[in-house]
């Protein structure tokens, strides 16, 4: 890596930026290593290390984790259908429609799912529906952009004109030529988003949108750390299970 003027300029600006960041925040990070904080860490771990496994509480946790799986699954499926429609509509020569779709997907994408949840909470109230809708909006933005890029990369002018001379519409061309080609890639994108969504759904409850996160937030506010440790164990095991399932499905469908 040799250095030219541009590289030196960027390195200098990045270092100036870093120093301004440190000056701006005005916090002392070494407060973490103070005596009292270490003590509170130790107390926390002591209470954390004996989880609550009474039957009543376990059934509550299992119910909540089922709700979390529900939220992530439904939002992934609905948003993949939306993204599929966005992909088909994006094949027009209408400039305004294309730029509108780009603006829409960018808008949906750039607000994080948790902030979508906070905003939608005012419209639809507490409950798992809000979480599902928030995840659906965010995920359809991301998946829409990915699918549109997939279609743009696959389009070949040669074959398209071939189809048109044989009196085939774009939809026929799409379903018989492009769709079988990009199907494995689409499946892998959807599974990847599902993995992300289950992580997001388990934390969406913090703002009151159902699932494991809500249970976690209540128990944490009541300082019941033994129950918190049970909930965290369930969260992690659920995420790992979904990861295993999605990697199995991916290997089945994409051969990777």
């Amino acid at each position: 890596m040799y250095l030219n003027k541009l590289k030196i300029f960027t390195i200098v600006t990045i270092s100036i930026f870093l120093t301004t960041c440190f000056i701006f925040l005005e916090t002392n990070l070494f407060e973490v290593f103070k005596y009292e904080t270490v003590l509170s860490f130790l107390i926390f771990f002591k209470e954390f290390s004996n989880p609550n496994i009474s039957t009543k509480f376990l059934s509550e946790v299992i119910n909540a984790s089922f709700e979390t799986v529900m939220i992530s699954f439904v939002s992934t499926i609905i948003s993949s259908v939306f993204a599929f429609f966005i992909m088909i509509v994006s094949n027009t020569k209408n400039f305004f429609l294309i730029s509108f779709l780009k603006l829409l997907t960018n808008f949906l994408r750039s607000i994080p799912d948790l902030l979508w949840g906070v905003i939608l909470l005012m419209f639809f109230g507490l409950g798992p529906f809000t979480g599902t809708l928030a995840l659906t909006l965010h995920t359809s933005g991301i998946l829409g952009r990915l699918f549109v890029e997939l279609l743009e990369n696959q389009k070949m002018q040669n074959t398209l004109s071939n189809f048109k001379t044989n009196n085939g519409s774009f939809l026929r061309y799409f379903f018989y030529y492009i769709f079988p080609k990009i199907f494995p890639q689409m499946i892998s994108y959807i599974l990847y988003r599902w993995e992300n969504n289950i992580r997001a759904a388990s934390i969406l409850g913090i703002i009151g949108a159902g699932g494991l996160g809500q249970l976690l937030f209540y128990r944490l506010s009541l300082f019941h750390y033994d129950e918190v440790s049970t909930i965290l164990f369930f969260t992690v095991s659920m995420v790992i299970l979904v990861d295993l399932l999605s990697s199995f499905l991916r290997s089945k469908y994409t051969g990777r």
């Binding site: 890596m1 541009l6 590289k7 960027t10 990045i14 930026f17 870093l18 301004t20 960041c21 440190f22 701006f24 925040l25 916090t27 990070l29 407060e31 973490v32 904080t37 860490f41 926390f44 709700e67 529900m70 939220i71 699954f73 439904v74 499926i77 609905i78 960018n106 808008f107 750039s110 607000i111 994080p112 948790l114 902030l115 906070v118 905003i119 005012m122 419209f123 639809f124 109230g125 507490l126 409950g127 798992p128 529906f129 809000t130 599902t132 992580r199 388990s202 934390i203 913090i206 703002i207 159902g210 976690l216 937030f217 944490l220 300082f223 918190v228 965290l232 969260t235 992690v236 995420v239």
Partner: protein, 265 residues
């Protein structure tokens, strides 16, 4: 082959069935059928017009800078932790794999270190922040520490993969002639894979900005906290300004990271 198609079609049917049942359950649980849609109309018009008084804009911009600096500092710290750790944990740079002397203790200890990083990245950063806010109290420190904890796990894993998939000719020669791990990394491996490492760090910086926006909801400072407070006070025109600023911020960060990638790669 016939059997294969049968399995595939039943899988699709099961997915469809599950979607319908799950969505029905969600709608029933959230009591959506009793929803009053007049409420939706009323709330929607509270978002406009945008708030743009001078005082409000000043505090928002200050909070934006706090968010950016939280992200930058935490990515810097986690890079400084994860680069040496990935050098220690990688298989490519270890003498025991190259000389093939089957040093089981060294292999096991390396494996053990790697699994530690799996624990770091298994919990979402917002839950870590929730726990740390309880321990350290409200403030920027909790946000920085939670991002550092999770991102160290992710970055170490990816750096190990980058080092293990790089070309081993020069590094192996250096190790055979007796150089230490970190020297080999600095002189042989880093020049080969510096581009990938830089692009991954920049990507993580973008992610860190998004997470530090979210962490405000837990009470860890920045733009997210201001938005949460504005929602709790029902100042919805402030919320809409903050949302537009947020979109602008994410766009600007995309452009900056693209520029850095273009310069170095």
């Amino acid at each position: 082959m016939k059997n294969y198609f049968l399995i595939k079609n039943t899988l699709y049917l099961v997915i469809l069935f599950l979607t319908i049942i799950f969505s029905g359950l969600i709608i029933e649980k959230s009591n959506l059928l009793n929803l009053n849609f007049n409420n939706v109309n009323e709330v929607f018009f509270l978002f406009f017009p945008l708030e743009y008084s001078k005082e409000f804009l000043y505090t928002t911009i200050e909070n934006t800078f706090i968010t950016i600096s939280i992200a930058t500092i935490s990515v810097l710290i986690s890079t400084f932790i994860s680069l040496p750790m990935s050098v220690i944990c990688s298989n490519n740079l270890s003498s025991s794999t190259i000389f093939k002397n089957k040093n089981k203790i060294k292999d096991l200890s390396r494996y053990f270190l790697r699994t530690n990083f799996l624990f770091l990245r298994s919990l979402p950063e917002i839950i870590v922040a929730l726990l740390l806010v309880k321990i350290l109290g409200l403030g920027v420190n909790a946000a920085i520490l939670s991002i550092v904890i999770t991102f160290t796990g992710f970055m170490t894993k990816v750096f190990i993969e980058i080092i293990d998939s790089s070309n081993t000719v020069s590094s192996e020669n250096l190790i055979r002639s007796g150089a230490g791990k970190f020297k080999v990394f600095l002189y042989a491996t880093l020049p080969l894979c510096s581009k990938e490492i830089i692009s991954y760090i920049v990507f993580r910086w973008e992610c860190a900005i998004r997470t530090s926006l979210i962490l405000g909801i837990v009470g860890a400072g920045g733009l997210g906290q201001q938005m949460e407070l504005a929602i709790k006070m029902m100042d919805l025109n402030e919320v809409s300004t903050i949302v537009f600023l947020l979109i602008f911020l994410v766009y600007i960060c995309d452009q900056i990271s693209n520029f850095i990638r273009k310069v170095f790669i």
